[in-house]
Symmetry: C2
Subunit: 656 residues, 2 copies
Amino acid sequence: MSQWIWRYGEFECYHNMILHTRRQQYGYPEPVVWKLYAPEPVVCFKKEVTTEGGVFRIHALGNISVIVGAEPWNQKKYGGQREIKLEPGTTTVLIRVANTETFPCIYVDGVIESDDTWLCDDMSQDWKKVGTSEMFASSDQTPDHFPFSYLPVSWVKKEKVEGGVLFDFGKETFARTCFSGLGEGPVKVRFGESREEAMDAKWCVIRFEDKPEKGVLSYIPYAFRYLFVSDENVEVKAEYEYLPLEYKGSFHCSEEIINKVWDVAAYTFHLNSREFFLDGIKRDRWVWSADAYQSLFVNRYLFFDKEIEKRTLIALGGKQPFKVHINTIMDYSFFWIISLYEYYKTYGDKDFLEQIQDQMKAVMDFCLERRDEDGFMRGKPGDWVFIDWAPMDKTGALCGEQILFAKAMECYAAICAVIGRDDRGLGGEAEKLRKQIFEKFYDTEKKVFIDSYESGKRNVTRQSNILAYLFLGCDDTVKKDIYERVVLNDEVPQITTPYFKFYENQVHCKAGNTNLLEKSIREYYGSMLATGATTLYEEYDPTMTGVEHYAMYGNPFEKSLCHAWSASPIYLLGNFRLGVENTGIAYDTFDVRPNPGDLKGFQGKVPVPGGTVSVSVDQEEIRVYSEIPGGTLYVDGKTYTLEAKKECRVRRKSDV
Amino acid sequence: MSQWIWRYGEFECYHNMILHTRRQQYGYPEPVVWKLYAPEPVVCFKKEVTTEGGVFRIHALGNISVIVGAEPWNQKKYGGQREIKLEPGTTTVLIRVANTETFPCIYVDGVIESDDTWLCDDMSQDWKKVGTSEMFASSDQTPDHFPFSYLPVSWVKKEKVEGGVLFDFGKETFARTCFSGLGEGPVKVRFGESREEAMDAKWCVIRFEDKPEKGVLSYIPYAFRYLFVSDENVEVKAEYEYLPLEYKGSFHCSEEIINKVWDVAAYTFHLNSREFFLDGIKRDRWVWSADAYQSLFVNRYLFFDKEIEKRTLIALGGKQPFKVHINTIMDYSFFWIISLYEYYKTYGDKDFLEQIQDQMKAVMDFCLERRDEDGFMRGKPGDWVFIDWAPMDKTGALCGEQILFAKAMECYAAICAVIGRDDRGLGGEAEKLRKQIFEKFYDTEKKVFIDSYESGKRNVTRQSNILAYLFLGCDDTVKKDIYERVVLNDEVPQITTPYFKFYENQVHCKAGNTNLLEKSIREYYGSMLATGATTLYEEYDPTMTGVEHYAMYGNPFEKSLCHAWSASPIYLLGNFRLGVENTGIAYDTFDVRPNPGDLKGFQGKVPVPGGTVSVSVDQEEIRVYSEIPGGTLYVDGKTYTLEAKKECRVRRKSDV
């Protein structure tokens, strides 16, 4: 079956470039703040083919030149001819394509077909397997256009106000809009995540002032719940734009607020799962590496869509020369390398590792060159250092950065082992760095990690310790100390971002303090929903009221009210309540450790390669049904081997 | 005065990309056969400014976001606002620009102005001085559009033939065309450099078959002398498209055929001097490094246009990662580095060397990594090895390639010395390689160089020996042997390309055999003109007749009849007859060595920085008038210091 083919990575490169130049901010298009990479303008496709003779046809984005024949002395040139007759036998087909507007790609059908067995060169004799996607399997579905789906959505309330009309769509959406019945204009159009935003002429983030043509104005999709249009006669048509993803994971429990959070998290996450994993759907709509890292985990308990993970990781990796951290942020380069290995573990996609290895090496080389003499990485001029929005001591070498750096080196070495490439000693380097982290950042009196040793302040934050807990491979004593002395210690400032809640809640669950996940969901997310949220916010402070919730970065409505990193309950409930976790490569082995936590019971599904695992817990019984083999069920200290497609029922101990 | 500014090199990168995707071949657009580089989609411009306060305006290609203030705590964001008011005092202006269609660039006027004092970053904290051009000094003259000039041109003969009309424009031109009065069509339009080409439906290189709109068809500029249109009612309007360059050099002598060759060479060269130096105006219209190298020399005796040299060298250098030779050809990478130093010597433009040094290092590093253990460079899979179209022995390491490689290293070291950068020992490496070339390729019996030592054939060609003569720094004995045993030896196969005639004629002139330049011009170019050439051909064999002259690459009309590398008489007559040659940096010192050669007399001008040097030779007297100081006149073994703007007259010895 024919597919569109392109130089591996170029599809992602192109859509990443387009996506990052689509932000709207206070009436202007806002250029991205980090480095973008452009597609290659000219490439050549090649395949050795054996046929009984016949015609093949070429569809292309760009101008083509075709050569048939492997060697200069038997080559025949066909120029831009789109239908070519092959003689019976074996020969080589070369198709050179130039495209300076989108990116070069082709679709070949007939006696030969384009698919992932073709090779592609960027005109430097650097032949690689092509990129493909199941989305582009017909000649008229061209890959310059990302094939979203559309559904009409309607307002639920309409109100004449301030000389115009305010539409309320009832919940956050992302939709293309067409306004008709307009006068001569110019007409003001404001897309608000909140009513207040839509009504604020100055601080509404997505807003336009345009002259209608024949009474009509149309806009590409933007995020909104409310729409204000400064014309009382306006009619609106809106179409929700989305990636059609199957909801493979599910979770339903005895407590309505938790179910509601799960549902809203799933919707929030779906809105942000598009060409790539986005941070939020209103403001940036950009691809951030550490945000994407968390999205990988959520995706695995909701859509289990390998393709969006792959697209995101390719897009984030960028191109060579690699001269600046991913998203300009040091920790984000580390998270990208860690994500590559996480991706491999989940899907067993060795082919991807083969394709990405050169870029991975470029990113790692960039990091290694920026090490200081002591092996630590400090922010160089122009680098951003994130970790979290928190009152951390960011002097000199930071504990959190070194932990992630060591983990990235460990993952790099693990990937090299998979694809049989020399890890250049990075496995050992990771170990060495971990020892140094203990030496410099572990406070033997406090028995926890400090943010920085260079300042002398010996400041302790949740962030550094949680990262140590999750990424440093600490022993149980150290972990216990971290949990008790930091995570359960109210004197250490609380995490305020859903971003870091993802990590903190993991620690709660791993440390076995089983009711804190539910507490966090109820209190943090529950009260967020109580403010009227129809999707989950980028940040949330329960002590605020009213429009305070919408402010961020010093501006009244700049907070994203639909942010992917807030969807972590999907992952947490799937992994720590339904209890399904991959322990091998692509779930060739996996654990099922159902854990009621603070809940009376629940049922749900976790997607795995080739099916799902269904888990149901009530007060008497645990039932697990896996569509694939490889699972081990853990209940009350006992293990049960799960057979494929055979339900396993275990009675719960009465005292649990 | 404000100018458009861009990230240094991006203007050339963009136009190089566009230019290389404009070729037409047998009815199809033909993609380039080598690697192209795309412009950066997002960059940031910066300047620290001190003003008394007031408004500045921004014009941009792309979306912008403006920040005023040097540090995060005093920065103010203006988004896409195009008019901004500055407070009095000193601050920093940052303008981020995204453009995925052409390339990001801005024009700022008002209280601050964009010019070459601004810096630009490709979002990797890699701040560099911006690129500018005098061509773009007004806000509405945007650099995405190369500003050519236009002149109407008319046909001189019109003929109804084969159901259509054949127009003869009298000479080769490069013009945009508009055909009117057409029927419904489809109409065939053929652009021919020869009558035969225009009349050949199958083998005419530039041809179209299009449906007129309202009786009209328009085409972007193509090369032609003849136009065939398959509609008897057609009317044509044509406008010659050209770069307005001043003819600063001139040459006029006692022999009409030589004057005619000079004039036709100048016109040929002008047609090919556009965004960059092109190879030929009909077929490729591409930028080839070794062709461009020769164009530098011609330019210096005709237009003395520094800007086209700079644009060409920037475009050829490409970007990083540098993964394949320039134009895919090994010798062309060497010629590029040699050209950089030639450019510096001519114009003293140290700023250019500063800007290009990173790319020069990338190209040289690529070459150094491809050396074999013996230090020689052999063609690797995918490399092309050119030197010349000639029956050379191309086995293993080639003499010509090593000679150029050594010269490139020498030039690299010389450039490093100018800009105070470490040459990494390449000066010494060049010397070492030269010794090795003598050891392996110099045949001590034949007393000349062989092409290859690995084959055992010990083949002798003009090409290898001429390159040794010109680039290897041989002593006079070796040079004399080369000249007598190879260049004057009719048993060594003749040079057949004007490309290598450029080098051979230099050797004739340097070796003092003073009448051979005229002989070559008369016989080779004179007979080319006798075939009806109105511009100079890519290749010419005097033994051919009729349409044979138009065939190349196995196809009847694929030869370029207007090829830049044939314009060398401009340089040769200027350098070896008028005798003006730069001997310092930017003509701070220069020689004038008038040499009548085989001519009774001549007069002409050679451009130099800030003026011209006029030289006139008749049978009695030599007169030289230089508008700049620094010159030394050499006549009959005596030297005369040339004062600026003062004529120097020297009587010739009667026996010369």
